[in-house]
């Protein structure tokens, strides 16, 4: 813990969260809050995905399943059972992590493309299960009644509360990435990424390590899912388990630079702001997908290590500050 405090990135993360929390409050700027909450969710999803892809070298195409399942559990506990939002979100996070641990022990014996395929399988299977699960409204999903916002002081207050909670989860996600990176456990993961067989020979229990990181990478996205779908007001299987969001997470990670804490945040933040800007720009909105796609191609072609890799090459000293 003490070593964490000495790292500039630790303080940068806290500063970032502070700025996120302060900016929309100053001048009660709700429109900015709505922009920033999407950035925060993108950062949460990407930095947790980074634990699998960037740290361990396992591509997870079904990462969004944690977010969606967390959303379902959280919404169910908060609206049907009437639990407090924070407790519902935490319980949802723990339960989803347990489910991930079980799945992980099963599918993490697979490697490379087979593992990637299995993660798609998990996504499809969970979606099919939820779409037929009566207590969660099957395909029609669940809707949040306005009364459910009452314990948090009505919808207007509830949305602010949700915002601050999501910013908290964002900060925790980045701190978690940083903590794992500087731990012995993190070194084990990097060893698996570089050469799994060699890591096993050196005494790293690869299966357990992978299952743990798969489960850990599920916790905070599930909490974020519970908060976001509560704010969203409804959930159904097609929006909770949207395959595109999983892919976008991978794109954001590649854009920023996988394997680095700052890269995941940078990629997520930039990609999300770019998409938002293009979508609402009066001149460019008709072509927003084309432009976003073209820019991504350019970045990946010109800076294969992502933006953060490009920064390190440009200013070698920056690595010491950021890493």
């Amino acid at each position: 813990m003490m070593t964490m405090l000495r790292r500039p990135l630790f303080w940068l993360i806290l500063l970032l969260a502070g700025i996120f929390a302060w900016l929309p409050v100053r001048g009660n700027n709700v429109a900015l809050r709505e922009d920033l909450i999407l950035v925060a969710v993108a950062i949460i999803l990407t930095s947790n995905l980074n634990l699998m892809i960037g740290y361990t070298g396992y591509v997870n195409f079904g990462h969004i399943v944690f977010y969606g399942l967390g959303g379902y559990l959280g919404l169910y506990l908060a609206t049907v059972r009437g639990w407090h939002l924070v407790i519902s979100a935490l319980v949802a996070g723990v339960l989803v992590s347990l489910v991930a641990l079980l799945f992980g022990l099963g599918i993490l014996r697979l490697r490379g493309a087979y593992f990637a395929l299995a993660t798609i399988g998990v996504l499809v299977a969970v979606q099919a299960f939820v779409a037929n699960f009566e207590p969660w409204g099957r395909s029609t999903g669940m809707y949040v009644s306005f009364d459910s916002y009452a314990p948090l002081g009505g919808p207007r207050h509830a949305l602010w509360t949700t915002y601050f909670l999501v910013i908290g989860v964002m900060a925790l996600s980045l701190l978690l990435s940083l903590a794992i990176k500087s731990s012995k456990f993190g070194l084990g993961l990097f060893a698996i990424r570089e050469d799994e067989d060699a890591a096993i020979v050196l005494g790293v229990n690869a299966t357990v390590y992978k299952a743990i990181i798969y489960s850990v990478s599920a916790f905070l996205p599930a909490v974020a899912g519970a908060l976001m779908f509560f704010k969203n007001g409804m959930i159904d299987p097609s929006i909770a388990f949207e395959y595109m969001l999983s892919l976008e997470g991978i794109v954001m990670l590649m854009l920023g630079g996988s394997g680095t804490v700052a890269g995941a945040a940078l990629g997520a933040g930039l990609y999300e702001r770019l998409r938002s800007y293009l979508l609402t720009s009066p001149r460019l909105s008709e072509f927003h997908l084309v432009i976003a796609g073209g820019l991504l191609l350019l970045v990946i072609r010109l800076a294969p290590g992502g933006l953060i890799g490009w920064l390190y090459r440009l200013i070698p000293h920056s690595r010491e500050v950021v890493e």
Binding site: E34, S145, P155, I239, S276
Partner: protein, 401 residues
């Protein structure tokens, strides 16, 4: 003298300008320009657009001695709920939208309503038939479509009149809208005394229905109700014809409403679709254009016949326009009051909103039509309105063969 003339001329000009005091109202909404809902959402948008152009061409909405020109603030929601709240907040706070229309589809609308209700903004919803949204305590949400539960109950009423002893099968897409339609329809069928012999939901994107069709045949059902969207609905109809299933009536959701349906040939014949509006419907409009005028203006502008989504879009504009006129301005409380009191027939049919606290804004005036694909004198496939009997353009063809 010259100066006096000049002054009086200037005064007159000022007076004339202030008499015509043109103000602008902004209506915000998102359109699914990309993504799965793109086709239906665009049709709805064209309805909004045609209404706006018609209103502005006639000098805007006239209320309380003022004229209000209509302008839109709209963005692409990518057929996804993710950005809906961001965009509706933006329209309310930055584009200063006075009123809102809903996105297309029930899930996007429910998400938008969380924001619009907080800011106490009126939102007319179209393309959002699911009832749950109106039972959450909203005070400023008004539904233009007849609710989802009515889609198949109309078909069951028509069947009851023709063949009360029919045996019924429900085969439907396992998706939000079709489940919301079929669940109450099944209960209603049992209430009417029909023998429901088979019920099964199929996965969205199903392309091979043979196993399901075999089950329908062995269940000895004489009537099939269900479907979902275009791709699965058209495939199901084609395979039912291919397997020569002896059905007396087939009613499918959404898909047969499209003009493309006639391209299915034999498989298209006799299929019934529940519809919010059809060009043949002959409502006597107490307000706004007649159905024929709307249809002609639409076809002239877009070179395509209007769908019920387009009609719903145009009608949302009309109902809002009438409420603003009656309220004498754009004050939200007064317009809400006017909408609560609305009970009017336009080219789109009757519109009346529930004012019960537990279902405020739910549509209770509009009813569902049944349209059936029949052959005209030259054996060309055309869609005819067969239900309700009062508005029919042809008799219901039963049994199909």
């Amino acid at each position: 003298m010259k100066r006096a003339t000049l002054i009086s001329f200037l005064l007159c000009t000022c007076l004339a300008v202030s008499c015509l005091a043109q103000q602008t109202i902004t209506i915000g909404f998102t359109v699914s320009r990309t993504g799965a809902l793109n086709v239906d959402s665009l049709e709805q948008y064209r309805g909004f657009e045609l209404w706006r152009d018609t209103v502005n061409a006639s000098g805007g909405i006239k209320a309380g001695g003022k004229g209000y020109k209509v302008q839109f603030a709209s963005y692409d929601d990518e057929s996804n709920t993710k950005r809906v709240q961001q965009l509706y907040t933006r329209m309310i706070l930055e584009d200063k939208a006075d009123f809102l229309f809903s996105p297309y589809s029930s899930s996007l609308t429910a998400t938008a309503a969380i924001v619009t209700e907080q800011y106490e903004k009126i939102m007319l919803t179209t393309g959002a038939a699911e009832e749950k949204t109106y039972k959450l305590g909203n005070q400023h949400l008004f539904q233009m479509f007849a609710p989802a539960s009515q889609y198949l109950t109309a078909a069951l009423d028509a069947l009851k009149a023709k063949d009360p002893k029919a045996t019924v099968a429900f085969v439907y897409e396992d998706a939000s809208f079709s489940v919301a339609v079929v669940t109450p329809a099944k209960t209603y069928a049992q209430q009417l005394g029909f023998n429901v012999v088979f019920t099964e939901a199929y996965a969205p994107n199903t392309t091979d229905f043979s196993a399901l069709i075999d089950k329908v045949i062995s269940s000895k059902a004489t009537v099939l109700l269900g479907g979902g969207h275009y791709a699965d609905g058209s495939t199901l109809a084609r395979q039912l014809t291919g397997h020569k299933v002896p059905l007396k009536m087939i009613t499918l959701l959404v898909a047969p409403d499209s003009p493309q349906w006639s391209e299915l040939g034999d498989a298209a014949y006799g299929v019934i679709v529940p519809s919010q509006w059809e060009p043949q419907s002959t409502f006597k409009a107490e307000y706004g254009p007649s159905g024929a005028d709307f249809g002609n203006a639409y076809t002239a502008k877009y070179n395509a016949p209007p769908s019920y989504e387009s009609a719903g879009g145009y009608a949302s504009g009309l109902i809002l326009q009438r409420a603003i006129e009656q309220a004498g301005g754009i004050d939200t409380a007064k317009v809400t009051q006017a909408l609560n009191a609305t009970d009017i027939t336009t080219f789109y049919g009757r519109t009346r909103f529930s004012t019960q606290p537990n279902e405020h804004g739910l549509q209770v005036g509009h009813t569902i039509f049944l349209a059936q694909w029949q052959k005209d004198k030259s054996s060309k496939l055309v869609k005819q309105v067969v239900w309700p009997l009062a508005g029919k353009s042809a008799d219901l063809l039963y049994p199909i063969h």
